[in-house]
């Protein structure tokens, strides 16, 4: 009997052994697949029990299935039928993996059908499925390993419950930690199980070391990160750029909510710049205490609000020769890029007199990437990367509906001016008059999420724009207007650090009265 024939023999045996489980699981999935309500965006509260169905019953059934699969002829099952037969351990393990893979693919395939049935476009459904197969397979492998380490289904379920309670804080459910970290957690847990089995004399040290080495290679070899983070939009190691933030002259005095002006030296007109962080470090303090050398953040909390996101037609590919139509969007400009950083100027440490300060800032450069150009009409505008954009009518007004997997690696659509890392822009163009309209969000409504498995789900968000009347007018038959969807891709970054002498920096805490740690600072040239 060849190895392939032996594997097929054992796979058939396992299929017969698990036939009742397959039947039960298929029934659960089939019910889910034909229940559009399960997969549609459901208002929370109206069909609340269904949430339990999708978030609890479906994954639990699959995991218990995997648990039972692992317990048959497992390491703890010394009286298992196959253990006494001339079937090698690798053959038995490979047969289990075949079943797990089939289980994962079957589950995800049914969910894709369910999503499609529920109104999600097939490209998005497939994208969600592709991102869910590997994590779900790892979860099944995890459950199978627990099954192989326990004597009975009840003890296996108990251990599985405890294991998932432990996984909960590290983000398997709920928290949105990077997938690679989750995968590593699962794989490291598997390594712990191997150690336990070795300690209990169920496997040899040689087997444990071999399997653990494989798991660690899988966890830290980068494979997981590549597989489970396929939709990461921002490159992790962007190159440095030559542009620098240049702070202007410090005013004689600056109060709360006053502006600290800056320019970006060498800025390109076709790029967007962002200052994500800036701080002031007081040096020369008479005090030698550590607190006086702590950096003082500018802005409210740790953010620095930048008003001069000067989005111009020149920065957006495909808009050459276009001009912004009035009313101009806030921040839209054709001037060379410069900005005014406006912060609350709140110090987060006690400040004493100093003679000089160091100002540090980080700068990032973004380029606009057009995702799609579509005629202005109701229906799907864009699908891909785990996201879909559709123009729908809500209460008689056109709104943009976004469906997206929160775990697909990308962030929800963000029209926030402050953070281009997850920002999208939509421009409506009129080719006849060569005018462009940058859509401005007015209201984000009804964020809804349906989690079908711990690793697959989506959010439904709707955005109203300030130019709703314009949109409604352009959607009339005969209109030749189009919409271009852009996203911003980080292209590079730089850091700036500058030390300046000051005469009176800052006002000492005694003069702040009851403001306590909230110190007002004053800049001197």
């Amino acid at each position: 009997m060849t190895r392939i024939a032996a594997l097929a023999h054992v796979v058939r045996y396992d299929a017969r052994r698990m036939q009742r489980w397959w039947l039960a699981y298929s029934t659960v999935l089939a019910v889910a697949a034909v229940s559009p309500a399960v997969f549609r965006g459901i208002k929370v509260g109206q069909y609340e029990p269904l949430w339990g169905y999708t978030t609890f019953l479906l994954p639990l059934t699959g995991l218990v299935f995997a648990l039972a699969l692992g317990q048959g002829d497992g390491a703890y099952d010394a009286r298992g039928f196959l253990r006494a037969k001339p079937v090698s351990d690798p053959t038995r393990a490979a047969a289990r993996l075949v079943h797990l893979l089939a289980l994962a693919l079957f589950t995800v395939a049914v969910i894709v059908l369910g999503l499609w049935h529920g109104g999600i476009g097939m490209p998005v459904a497939l994208s969600l499925a592709a991102s869910a197969v590997v994590p779900y397979f790892l979860l099944l492998l995890y459950s199978t390993s627990i099954g192989a380490s326990t004597r009975s289904l009840s003890s296996g379920l108990l251990l599985l419950f405890v294991a998932f309670l432990l996984l909960f804080p590290i983000g398997m459910f709920g928290l949105d930690l990077p997938r690679s970290l989750l995968s590593r957690s699962v794989l490291l847990s598997l390594a712990v199980i191997m150690l336990w089995l070795t300690y209990m004399g169920r496997v040899t040290w040689r087997q444990a070391v071999t399997i653990s080495m494989g798991l660690f290679t899988l966890a830290y070899g980068g494979w997981c990160a590549r597989v489970v983070d396929p939709l990461d939009r921002v490159p992790s190691n962007t190159p440095p750029i030559n542009e620098r933030v240049r702070f202007g002259a410090f005013p004689d005095s600056i109060g709360e909510r006053d502006a600290l002006p800056y320019t970006i030296e060498g800025a390109r007109a076709d790029r967007l710049y962002w200052v994500p962080d800036a701080s002031i470090m007081p040096y020369g303090s008479p005090s030698t205490s550590a607190e006086s050398s702590q950096p003082i953040r500018l802005g409210y909390g740790n953010t620095l609000r930048v008003e001069a996101f000067a989005v111009s037609p020149a920065m957006l590919p495909g808009l050459e020769g276009f001009v912004w139509a009035p009313p101009f969007p806030p921040g839209a400009s054709s001037r060379p890029l410069s900005g005014m950083a406006v912060g609350d100027m709140r110090a987060d440490a006690r400040i004493r007199d100093v003679k000089e300060v160091t100002v540090a800032a980080q700068l990032k450069r973004y380029r606009a990437e057009p995702l799609v150009t579509v005629p202005i009409a109701l229906g799907t505008w864009y699908e891909g990367g785990g996201q879909s954009l559709s123009m729908v009518v809500d209460r008689g007004l056109p709104v943009l509906e976004e469906r997206q997997s929160p775990r697909s690696g990308g962030a929800p659509l963000d029209f926030d001016r402050d953070n281009p890392s997850s920002r999208f822009d939509i421009v409506v163009i009129d080719s006849t008059t060569r005018t462009a309209h940058l859509l401005q969000p007015r209201e984000r409504t009804g964020s809804q999420a349906v989690y079908i498995l711990p690793t697959i789900g989506f959010q439904v968000m709707r955005t109203e724009f300030q130019q709703q009347e314009l949109l409604r007018a352009l959607m009339r038959p005969g209109s030749r207007s189009s919409a271009i969807v852009y996203r911003w891709i980080e292209e590079g970054h730089s850091g700036t650090s500058e030390t300046r002498m000051v005469q009176r920096w800052p006002i000492g805490p005694d003069s702040l009265g009851q403001r306590g740690l909230r110190a007002m600072v004053e800049y001197k040239r």
Binding site: D77, F81, T204
Partner: protein, 317 residues
């Protein structure tokens, strides 16, 4: 109380199983503490010991089901750590409580097992099915305990194994089923010259067909050898005295070596090694009646295999 050292009993045939210093533990619990085992080829070997002595673990180590943690063990000259699929195809393993695929009919079980063994003998399987009065259409899940054991034995014998390992095969079976099993077993093994290792504490059932025994106690085999050698070496002597004055008040060390001399009225009974009888003590000549007989396997088991009782034991008042 000492044990007799008969492990030097030289095997007359090459060993099918050879183990030296085998150790095994489950977590912190040691089960095997250095087992030496030698099973001659063609032998029917009984591995005897109390519950928890480590018999099942030893057989599972030999079958390659449990990993070998310490020592060395070979089956047919191959280390149990390196048993290939071909080696395991010549090895049969049957255990009490062993799981069977309950959803299968007997004929499906045979059909599943047959491809796994190149030497599977369908004729022998059919013969054993008839001899064991098994219905090939019956599902394993609906079979009685005895029928399940027969089915397992059928699947273990049909591949004509070179070595058959059996773990408590007779536990919980009625007398008739035991007779059928033993008959089928002896018939097959005897005809083919297979080797058998049976782990059990059911000594009465196996005494008539085993030829070698090993007593496993506290994780080691203290006494082992051919049954014939053991019987030659140990003798139960029973003396009957005419009057109480003749009954001695103390006994020589050779008479107390294995267990205390038992005295009931004028009758005295002791286990001694045969060599000691050559120098009979004087009191033996005064006995009105003297009876000598070889030890039964049960008596040997009580001597070398049964768990040692704690001193001062007994039912509390």
């Amino acid at each position: 109380m000492s044990t007799i050292s008969l492990t030097a009993d030289a095997p007359t045939a090459p060993a099918i199983v050879s183990a030296r210093g085998v150790t095994h533990r489950y977590g912190r619990t040691p089960v095997l503490r250095g087992v030496d085992l030698e099973v001659p080829e063609g032998a029917v070997y009984a591995l005897l010991g109390a519950n928890g002595a480590g018999k099942s673990t030893m057989l599972r180590v030999l079958a390659g089901i449990e990993p070998l943690q310490g020592g060395s063990a070979t089956v047919a000259g191959v280390s149990v750590q390196k048993l290939s699929i071909a080696d395991r195809q010549r090895l049969g393993y049957v255990a009490e409580g062993q799981k069977l695929p309950d959803w299968m009919r007997l004929e499906q079980l045979e059909a599943f097992c047959a491809p796994l063994y190149p030497l599977w003998d369908a004729g022998l399987a059919a013969y054993l099915r008839g001899r064991f009065a098994l219905d090939s259409k019956q599902k394993l899940g609906t079979m009685s305990r005895g029928q399940r054991m027969k089915a397992a034995l059928l699947c273990a014998l049909a591949p004509r194994p070179q070595l058959l390992l059996m773990d408590e095969p007779f536990t919980g079976l009625d007398v008739a089923v035991k007779e059928e099993l033993i008959g089928g077993l002896l018939e097959s093994a005897g005809a083919e010259g297979w080797s058998l290792v049976i782990a059990t504490h059911d000594v009465d059932e196996i005494e008539r067909f085993v030829d070698h025994v090993g007593f496993l106690r506290d994780g080691v085999i203290g006494t082992a050898g051919s049954l014939e050698t053991l019987r030659d070496a140990l003798v139960r002597v029973e003396l009957t005295f005419s009057n109480a004055a003749d009954v001695p008040r103390s006994w020589p060390g050779a008479w107390r070596r294995f267990r205390p001399v038992e005295q009931a009225g004028l009758r005295v009974s002791a286990i001694v090694d045969r060599d000691s009888l050559a120098t009979d003590p004087a009191f033996a000549a005064q006995a009105s009646n003297r009876d000598e007989r070889p030890l039964s396997l049960r008596e040997m088991y009580m001597l070398f295999g049964a768990a040692q009782r704690h001193a001062g034991g007994g039912i509390p008042a």
